[in-house]
Subunit: 294 residues, 2 copies
Amino acid sequence: MAEILDGSTKALAKGISLVENYKAEGIQLLSNLPKLPAVPVVGITGSPGAGKSTLINALIGFLLQKKMKVGIIAVDPTSPFSHGSLLGDRIRMNDHFTNPSVFIRSMATRGSLGGLSPKIVEAVDLLKAAKFDYIIIETVGVGQSEVEIASLADTTVVVLVPESGDEVQNIKSGVMETADVFVVNKADRPGADAFFNTLKSLVHSKINSNWETPVVKTVADTADGIDELFAAIQSHRNSIHSNEKKIKLLIEKALQLIREKRTADVDFDKLRTQIENEIVGGKQNLYTFVQTNY
Amino acid sequence: MAEILDGSTKALAKGISLVENYKAEGIQLLSNLPKLPAVPVVGITGSPGAGKSTLINALIGFLLQKKMKVGIIAVDPTSPFSHGSLLGDRIRMNDHFTNPSVFIRSMATRGSLGGLSPKIVEAVDLLKAAKFDYIIIETVGVGQSEVEIASLADTTVVVLVPESGDEVQNIKSGVMETADVFVVNKADRPGADAFFNTLKSLVHSKINSNWETPVVKTVADTADGIDELFAAIQSHRNSIHSNEKKIKLLIEKALQLIREKRTADVDFDKLRTQIENEIVGGKQNLYTFVQTNY
């Protein structure tokens, strides 16, 4: 832990791996966490092709100019942040991948009956302990994942493009509630102004609480509008007065930790063998099997 | 259970509610399930606006002509199947909502750190026990949920529209692996043939196992192509030889049931109070708190 607190990137990376792989040292590490500073956690979500990675890249550049240390967790399976190092597709991240003030980590999504990676909250806590000034979580939308990210991030940014006009129905029904800031990226494309105005009026007609979701135009390729995006995020952060979201997240996380603790003794290989021998062929009912054996 | 086996829709609906709400009678009900018949379970997924509901409606009509009993579980929060009865938007489902051979049930998705509704597997088992001939699960894509649905369904149908051409990059990276059948719906629109051909060649270049994902053109509004869709699903079903997917699903489900059983004693109100008093203000570390108290 001392090395992580001292800012060792290597120790941090190792720490996240220990936690992600359910190692006892990982639990030990988390139990030794100090009281954590209030670091902004910004979720950035949007469909593949909306330009999330380019936008994040531009935002990283902006934050570095402000002398901030930036941590990025990429959960989007289509993101070059996730796959860049594997596929050699580092073109857009060239500047930042080797910068000591930038830490990029991709985390796998969970299997079939899951959702987000179950250890993102812990990874964020470790980044906070390592004194990062700004934490960005990138996920793919539209679907379940942006609801999940909304529970994790202080501010959720939903990235759209002028072509997203077709999705307005969808935006109305789902995303409107989770977005704290809308970005119309690739705003130099045809139709951008019309889409921007539609979104503006949608947002205005749906004010709840005391926050009218701002809509920001960006051209991530040239970093146009990034300063405005940063300001919108800051302004949302300053408007948060309630702990309710944080409490809900802590309850969910506590329940997950309790479940993990109490099922740590389950032998997966044995369970698999039992299922193959007893359940698949129909010798036993799965529900009775669990009730009597576990 | 006897009433469900006898085909009582009311008993079935009540049974699903008992299970969904974690009632002891629900566990009892599941423990009494007989050996279940091999009923086709078809997952239908796609973006909002792709016309999933209209397509399912047409498929229901087709199956009813074959004298089948059809069960539908809607997990898509934007689906009229989910909200139809609430919003009064029954227009498209008029024919089927009141038909005794059709059972439609919407199931809520889980909260923040979740994914699919945790009790869909159980609901499907109850539908099988109630002697339904065909089970359809509707979820929204693109994202995590279609990976989840793929683990649950025997056959996963991904619904696209000619306008989905822009998403081809996304289709390549994610959906290609989960789709067992592609539908190009609204195939009477401009660009449908071009998109169909692109998809065909993509599919052909990505053959794995011994199944080349078929691409079916439909116009759900007029039920054009529904017979072909049905045939493609049947043909995929006949091609399945491996139990691997089923075993993985059973392991996941068993683990979930074990976790639920072992945490049934957790008092949520007490946990919330503890978190509010101890964790939010930073008096205790969450991870240590769980380790020492649970």
